[in-house]
């Protein structure tokens, strides 16, 4: 024993993770009855099975429709072959995995573990290895399951084995991307995102190859996963504690948001905070004279909005995706393409609502202003509305350039963007679903209408704002009445966002 410090030297037998888990498990056994656990497992399993069956039915219905009525060729002057679009979407999926991985670490510890474990003078590898391995396996499985519908709907000639292999290949590619993200956490390995980008592009065609029933793409990626794991696992203990706890904080925040099914909270978890340098930007705008409270608030909202830069990247990605879908040669019928545009519109509205989502959680600040709540929301709508008006003008402008619509589409497009900006604020101010409220009895059975209202707030306004412009795309022309309808729809969206509770 060290007489000065009172220690008996290092104790390699002490496993901090096992100690914590064992103690927690013993308490859990004392406090929970097996019957309750069985009921929880049964209800979760049943719920999961119902959701999977519903999704499966939907996917097979769409597939049957696609087989019977193949997608129309794009009438664009420049088209993208369907295989390229599939590969592009696979790359986008893998890059999304990489982004998600870096946000949550991917090697991390939860806040409590960070506080009680990381201060101990024992190697940290055992603290993070088990949970990280589980995370990689879960991601691999989850990505494979998520890819299955995509495979079923796009590789129409593939056999079930081909779909399984394509999904497994994508799952393994996702696991490789996560392991590459973990390498970026190692000290002295700040190699940037280039390897992830290279891997994503290099593997993008492999699921398509595997869908022909070939095993080698999955085997090659399995070897890559094993190699990367061996590279990472040996050095997991050297990842700085600050990085472990940062990722753990994001993962914990996101996990609780998923548990409560609160989409806004999930966005907040992943959006992060603007960098310290952003505070110096747009100071001149904020310093402009404002005689009335509303003008002062508008300047504050505009400055906060412009200091956030991540939304512009999301908007650019969504613009590229939307135009690519419209350029795809075959594969999708026009209503399906328009549905993709609608989904992209919802995502764009969510992206520009980042400031409103932050202010929505501090209602006391808004209430302290000498302004009607509707006036406060109107101020918050202005910048998202202008941003989405510009985005829609770019989107419809792109469609005009591709010969998919006449120049007149630009007018309802830009007006629709104003309504979508209002939808961004309506979505940001949606109340968190209150699961204590009972479902309402209907002829179709009990429906959790209050919770559904909470989920659909914002999306409903995007649908209203985009309906006329999508209709114009469907009919292929822009009659004057559609422009009037677009004006009415966007005004309605703004009024709903500003004044409805």
């Amino acid at each position: 024993m060290d007489p000065k410090t009172g220690t008996a030297g290092t104790d390699p037998a002490f496993d901090v993770v096992r100690f914590t888990r064992t103690a927690a498990r013993q308490r859990s056994r004392r406090e929970h009855r097996y019957r309750d656990v069985l009921v929880d497992v049964y209800s979760t399993g049943l719920g999961l099975a119902v959701v999977l069956m519903m999704l499966g039915s939907l996917v097979f219905a769409v597939r049957t429709h696609l087989v019977l009525e193949p997608g129309t060729a794009s009438s664009a002057t420049v088209t993208i072959p369907q295989e390229y679009l599939q590969a592009g979407l696979t790359v986008a999926g893998l890059l999304a995995v990489a982004l998600f991985s870096r946000k949550i670490g991917p090697v991390n510890v939860r806040r409590t573990e960070g506080f009680w474990w990381l201060g101990l003078p024992v190697g940290r590898r055992r603290m993070v290895e088990g949970s990280f391995l589980r995370r990689v396996l879960l991601l691999c499985l989850g990505a494979a399951v998520a890819y299955l519908p995509f495979s079923v709907l796009t590789f129409l000639t593939a056999q079930p084995l081909g779909h399984a292999l394509a999904s497994a290949t994508f799952g393994l590619a996702a696991a490789s991307v996560m392991l590459l993200s973990a390498i970026r956490q190692l000290p002295g390995r700040g190699q940037g995102p280039v390897p992830t980008l290279v891997l994503s592009v290099a593997t993008s065609a492999l699921p398509s190859v595997a869908s022909a029933g070939l095993y080698w793409p999955a085997l090659v990626l399995m070897a890559a996963v094993l190699g990367l794991w061996l590279l990472v696992a040996a050095r997991l203990g050297s990842i700085p504690g600050a990085d472990l706890t940062r990722g753990g904080a994001v993962a914990g925040h996101a996990g609780s948001a998923v548990f409560f099914m609160d989409v806004n909270e999930l966005t907040r978890a992943f959006s992060g905070t603007p960098g310290s340098g952003s505070v110096s930007r747009f100071r001149c705008l904020y310093a402009l004279p404002a005689r009335r409270p509303w003008t002062a608030l508008l300047l504050a909202d505009a400055t906060a909005f412009l200091r956030h830069t991540s939304q512009w990247r999301t908007l650019a990605a969504l613009l590229v995706l939307s135009i690519a879908v419209m350029m795809a040669d075959g594969g999708l019928v026009l209503p399906a393409r328009l549905a993709v545009l609608l989904m992209a519109g919802c995502a764009a509205a969510s992206a520009v609502g980042v400031v409103a989502k932050r202010t929505a959680i501090t209602p006391g600040v808004d209430a302290a202003l000498p302004l009607h709540p509707g006036a406060v929301r109107l101020s918050r709508i202005v910048l998202p509305a202008l941003a989405l008006s510009l985005w829609m003008a770019c989107l419809t402008g792109g469609l005009v350039l591709l010969g998919l619509a006449g120049p007149a589409l630009l007018v309802p497009g830009a007006i629709a963007g104003l309504g979508m900006g209002a939808a961004a604020v309506r979505g940001a101010y949606r109340r968190a679903p209150d699961w204590s409220r009972p479902p309402v009895e209907t002829p179709f059975g009990p429906v959790p209408s209050a919770q559904l209202r909470s989920f659909t707030a914002g999306i409903d306004t995007v649908v209203i704002a985009m309906a006329p412009v999508l209709l114009a795309l469907y009919v292929g022309q822009v009659p004057g009445i559609l422009v009037v309808a677009q004006l009415v729809a966007s005004t309605l969206a703004v009024l709903m966002a500003a004044f409805s509770r």
Binding site: M1, T5, G6, D11, F14, V16, T20, L120, G241
Partner: protein, 229 residues
């Protein structure tokens, strides 16, 4: 091994957030067996200074050396030698008070961990609540658990951030004696405090954190705190 320099050496340390300092640059030395108090008004940056010295936050400028080496929270030797208690209410929801302390004692290879844990539980009057999870005890008892976790393990530097918070006068008195005993046994203590009594009973010197950081005697610092209150 005989120590060549000071236990803790802080030179031109600038601390803050987003590159903006919250107080003037800090320079100080702490020898083994000494208690250095850190005082100042609310928001002066005392806790930020303590967190930066503990390696939990990166400095803006300057350097902190512990035992002649740069402070590095990720180094095992630093974690073994430096104990810190900040005001953070973070506990495992399924671990009892005793199990939290056992985790720390075993993690630090204390020779008889269960005995050491029992002694701390007794000292901090937590024995009757030892098998309860922290969520079910008062905030003062949770505070005592945090202090016990810093003292149940061996260390040569103890960093305490306002340890008097949420403690009753009797426990403050006992804590003062414990801090003095720690320093007399050869450990160094960095004590952030607002309590003039605790300061006078324990500290050898004090740093007044402000736009300009000054070194004062404990009596001067206690008088300064009394004026501010």
């Amino acid at each position: 091994m005989d120590r060549v320099g000071a236990l803790l050496e802080v030179s031109g340390l600038s601390v803050g957030y987003g590159g903006v300092p919250v107080c003037g640059p800090v320079s100080a030395r702490l020898e083994a067996g000494e208690v250095l108090a850190v005082v100042g008004f609310n928001g002066a940056g005392k806790s930020t200074v303590a967190r930066t010295i503990a390696g939990k936050q990166a400095p803006i400028d300057g350097e902190v050396r512990f035992d002649g080496l740069h402070v590095n929270e990720d180094s095992i030797s630093f974690r073994r030698a430096v104990a810190a208690a900040f005001d953070e209410d973070i506990f495992f929801p399924s671990l009892s008070i005793r199990e939290h302390l056992q985790l720390v004692a075993r993690g630090h290879s204390v020779a008889e961990p269960d005995g050491a844990v029992s002694r701390e539980l007794e000292f901090f009057s937590l024995g009757h609540r030892a098998d309860v999870v922290p969520d079910l005890v008062s905030s003062g008892q949770r505070r005592r658990l945090l202090l016990a976790s810093a003292l149940v393990r061996p260390s040569s530097l103890l960093i305490l951030d306002e340890p008097e918070q949420r403690l009753d006068p009797v426990m403050r008195e006992r804590l003062a004696g414990r801090i003095r005993a720690y320093s007399e046994s050869g450990g160094g203590v960095l004590l952030v405090t607002h309590d003039p009594e605790l300061l006078l009973r324990t500290a050898d010197r004090a740093l007044l954190i402000d736009e300009t950081v000054l070194e004062l005697t404990p009596q001067q610092a206690a008088a300064d705190i009394a004026r501010a209150q």
